[in-house]
């Protein structure tokens, strides 16, 4: 695991938190979208908060796919759950929301789970890569 890879994992957490918060804020400003008025859903994309949220979620997806290219699914998934913790901490320290003891316990459990996985190896599976299976054509392409 290099520093760059930890940055990608951090990107998963930060971008998904930012994306979800921005989407939630945008959709609240827009109000309820009814099933009979689906064009409202299309217009929602043009709302600045929603657009920003979608951009952050795209960045999240890129980081997620990048992480899955070099780490196990069972290694990356706990990192995504840190987003719940981040949302709660941002709410607590920036917005002064009260966090109940149950939620603090939940934060502790998630953090412990992530720590457990992060201390172990990041890749245990051995699947054939396209690059490995077809070395000749790769050489010719490059």
């Amino acid at each position: 695991m290099t520093f760059r890879k930890y940055l990608v994992l951090a990107g998963i957490t930060v971008f998904s938190t930012a994306g979800d918060s921005l989407l939630a804020r945008g959709m609240k400003e827009l109000g309820n979208v009814s099933l009979h008025n689906l064009s409202g859903l299309l217009l929602a994309v043009a709302h600045p908060w929603v657009t920003a949220g979608i951009l952050f979620l795209l960045a999240f997806f890129a980081c997620y796919m990048s992480a899955l290219s070099w780490a196990d699914l069972t290694y990356v998934l706990p990192a995504t759950s840190l987003a719940y913790v981040l949302v709660a901490l941002v709410g607590h320290f920036r917005l002064h929301e009260v966090i109940s003891p149950t939620r603090w316990l939940g934060i502790a459990l998630i953090a412990a789970g992530v720590g457990f996985v992060a201390a172990g190896p990041s890749l245990t599976s051995h699947q054939p890569r396209d690059a490995d299976r077809n070395p000749v054509s790769q050489e010719m392409e490059s």
Binding site: R4, K5, V8, Y64, M65, S66, L68, S69, W70, D72, L73, T74, Y75, V76, L77, P78, S81, Y84, V85, A88, T102, R103, L105, G106, I107, A108, L109, I110, A111, A112, G113, V114, F116, V117, A119, G120, T124, S125, H126, Q127, P128, R129, D130, A131, D132, S142
Partner: protein
């Protein structure tokens, strides 16, 4: 009745998002380390190779099904039931599926982690 629909939706979310995660993870392992690929061949080679992996599209579709199941579930059940129930059970289902289909060595460390995270997600939502 709406309770039943909510749980049906939760089951569907778990099934679809686990399928999606496994397919996406499988695709990206086939593509290989995108950081290295980017350095060697550029960003377009990365995007091209990801898009040419057929399981990637299937994975995206499964994620789409999961998303609409969530919307469906939210229309029948409470946010405080549907989201934590599906999110936490998906962590456990993913550990099982990754072991079976992706041949990841899910040792004691990762089982404990999956259960801790699943429990933590439930506690944060109630």
């Amino acid at each position: 009745m709406s309770e039943l629909y909510a749980w049906a939706a939760i089951g569907l979310i778990i099934l679809a998002s686990t399928t999606g995660d496994v397919l996406l993870s499988y695709s990206m392992k086939r593509v290989g380390d995108v950081g290295e690929l980017w350095k060697r061949r550029g960003i377009l080679a990365v995007v091209g190779r990801v898009l040419r992996t057929p399981t990637f599209a299937l994975g995206l579709m499964a994620m789409g099904v999961a998303f609409y199941s969530l919307l469906f579930g939210l229309s029948w059940g409470n946010l405080s039931l549907v989201v934590p129930a599906s999110a936490s059970l998906t962590f456990v289902a993913n550990a099982v599926a990754a072991r079976i289909f992706l041949h990841e060595r899910v040792g004691r460390r990762r089982w404990i982690a999956a259960l801790l995270v699943a429990g933590g997600v439930v506690l944060m939502a109630i």
